[in-house]
């Protein structure tokens, strides 16, 4: 394999630019999230640093970098400091294959979707490693939770991506986007989009799925022992991943740069369109965070395994049937809505009669205690105390 120096330099420049762009995106997201969370909850959000608090993320970053970088005495030093990189590098590497416009991509891969899935899973290793190498019970618990949560929610997210890949007939991002020139896949398989968004939330650990670093339960999970720059890397990775979910949703389901203006858009406008869609989805994620409290871990697992995974398999099978029997594509929309109606109906039926549901649950869990005759001594003592209680009254009368 012959690689010239020029190519290497080109790649290095591309990576440098990409890294800065990713950081810039994370910084904008930090500001957007804090401001939006504030406004959604009746607060002003950051206002002190710069106009509208615009310099707040920079102040945050400076603060984090200036802090002392502590490692616990009993931690595994090397792994402790490598773990943040293991979380950040996969979330950075997947950007290599994300096209922001048709030509605006570091390297478009024929197996782009596979590449994304393969690398995004890797960050679990980093989280578990961070938890284990900290040598702290909260950190290891958080690491286990991260493993359980991310592995469970990886399945629905992969299934929903697979649905798109099947419909487009390719794993190439650019081709997937180009296949949505007329109709974006959100109209064709809305259920897959919903599953993708919910599982994506869980995958990046946003509220209500922030179980693995839940501050009130495991005081920060795998990140407990981290401080300063290493914690900042986790932080950066989290925001980058959040934006990745938005960007992926924009590319796979909202039609990327093809819909609704067609393929003739100039590159800057196309990139702008994709970014607007991606930021829109990210804002939805922040909106959800501003609204919902955290789920319990059993709720999280049962929601993942009992609802999302069956639903994602259902929509997957529906898409397969549509492709095999060459049905009208819109039948898939109808099927998708029908499948989506199932949990809605079940939920509504449950909610309509909460007392009945509760009674049924109590009946199922009830422990029947047989009434037994009282022991003779206890009965005698009771009758005795009854007479002594009654005596003063009698005397008084």
């Amino acid at each position: 394999m012959n690689v010239t120096l020029g190519e290497v330099i080109n790649i290095a420049i591309a990576l440098f630019v990409l890294f800065n762009l990713v950081t810039l995106v994370a910084i904008t997201l930090v500001w957007l999230e804090r401001k939006l969370l504030g406004r959604l909850q009746g607060r002003p959000g950051p206002t002190r640093v710069g106009p509208f608090g615009l310099l707040q993320p920079i102040a945050d970053a400076l603060k984090l970098l200036a802090k002392e970088d502590i490692s616990p005495g009993s931690s595994q030093k090397v792994l402790f400091f490598v773990a943040p990189l293991l979380v950040f590098v996969p979330s950075f590497v997947i950007w290599l294959t994300f096209p922001v416009a048709e030509n605006l991509v570091v390297r478009n891969l024929g197996l782009g979707l596979f590449f994304f899935v393969a690398f995004s899973v890797l960050s679990i290793v980093g989280l578990v490693l961070a938890g284990w190498s900290s040598n702290s019970k909260y950190a290891i618990l958080g690491g286990f939770r991260a493993a359980a949560q991310l592995v469970s929610y990886e399945i629905p997210i992969i299934m929903s991506i697979l649905v798109v890949a099947m419909l487009a007939g390719t794993l190439d991002f650019v081709e997937v986007v180009e296949a949505q020139e007329a109709v974006p896949y959100i109209a064709m398989v809305p259920l897959a989009f919903v599953i993708f968004l919910i599982a994506g939330l869980a995958e990046v650990g946003r509220t209500p799925f922030d179980i693995y670093f839940a501050e009130s339960e495991v005081v920060g999970g795998p990140f407990v022992e981290y401080s300063g720059a290493h914690w900042a890397i986790f932080f950066l990775a989290e925001y980058v991943n959040t934006f990745v979910v938005g960007l992926l949703g924009a590319l796979l389901f909202l039609g990327g740069w093809m819909w609704p203006f067609g393929p003739d858009l100039p590159t800057p406008a196309a990139a702008g369109l994709v970014l607007v869609k991606a930021y829109f989805l990210t804002v939805i994620i922040f909106w959800v965070r501003a609204t919902y409290p955290r789920m319990r871990i059993d709720q999280l697992m049962s929601f993942g395994w009992k609802w999302l995974i069956p639903l994602s398999f259902a929509v997957f099978v529906a898409a397969a049937c549509q492709l095999f029997y060459k049905w009208n594509p819109w039948t898939l929309t109808i099927i998708s809505f029908v499948i989506m109606a199932v949990p809605v109906v079940i939920q509504i039926r449950r909610q309509r009669n909460p007392a009945l549901a509760l009674a049924a649950r109590y009946a199922a869990n009830a422990i029947v205690v047989q009434a037994r005759p009282k022991p003779a001594v206890a009965a005698a003592m009771e009758s005795e105390s009854a007479t002594t209680d009654a005596a003063p009254e009698g005397a008084g009368a």
């Binding site: 959604l40 009746g42 607060r43 909106w287 919902y292 939920q347």
Partner: protein, 209 residues
């Protein structure tokens, strides 16, 4: 699921509303009327002197013993401008000790102390927490103005009203004496002086000793 959507709508609605936050050092929200800040001493406009006579009841009743008071003879009393024989000379509250319980207000018979609205009294050194008579009276004046404060028993404590009432009773007494003398010259004079004392009901007489 439905309630979840409702929750999303609720947060969305807040996006259009103004934030409820007040940026504190720039914007001071008004305190409630019933707000109990640090105690302050009140000012009797009619006598142009504090209500406080330095009777030490609050000092004794204070559970944290945060107060100190010294009284002296009231120069206004000798000039006949006030009914208070004694008046406060120095009064100091250690705000670090004060627990804002309001017992001093409850025990005060002279309407002299009140839980004011003062709560922003941070200082850079410990001595800054010592509120002296001047500061307490200043805070009391501010409180009186803010709340348009009225004494609970003006007939007993407001110098102007008390003096007026005394003058009235004295005049009435004189008139009665004149009338009595004109009617029957040998009326006993030693019974009547007790009556105005009963009308006044000044606890000042008791606390003075």
């Amino acid at each position: 699921m439905i309630s979840g959507l409702k929750g999303l709508l609720t947060t969305l609605r807040w996006l259009g509303k103004k934030p409820v936050t007040a940026q504190y050092p720039n914007q001071h929200l008004p305190v409630q009327h019933r707000y109990m800040g640090f105690p302050a001493l009140l000012w009797d406009e009619t006598g142009d002197e504090p209500f406080c006579t330095g009777c030490m009841v609050c000092v004794r009743e204070c559970p944290t013993q945060c107060m100190t008071a010294i009284m002296h003879d009231n120069p206004n009393f000798t000039e006949g401008l006030s009914h208070r024989r004694k008046i406060i000379e120095t009064f100091e509250i250690n705000l670090n000790r004060c627990i804002l319980c309001g017992i001093c207000v409850d025990v005060c018979a002279f309407d002299a102390i009140e839980m004011s609205h003062e709560h922003e009294l941070a200082s850079f050194e410990r001595a800054g927490a010592r509120a002296d008579l001047g500061l307490l009276l200043q805070q009391g004046r501010r409180y009186m103005k803010e709340e348009s404060w009225e004494p609970a028993s003006p007939g007993r404590n407001v110098a102007g009203i008390v003096l007026e009432a005394r003058a009235k009773t004295a005049a009435a007494k004189a008139a009665a004496e004149v009338a009595a003398e004109s009617k029957s010259g040998d009326a006993p004079a030693n019974v009547k002086p007790q009556e105005p004392n009963l009308d006044e009901k000044t606890p000042l007489e008791g606390s003075e000793s």
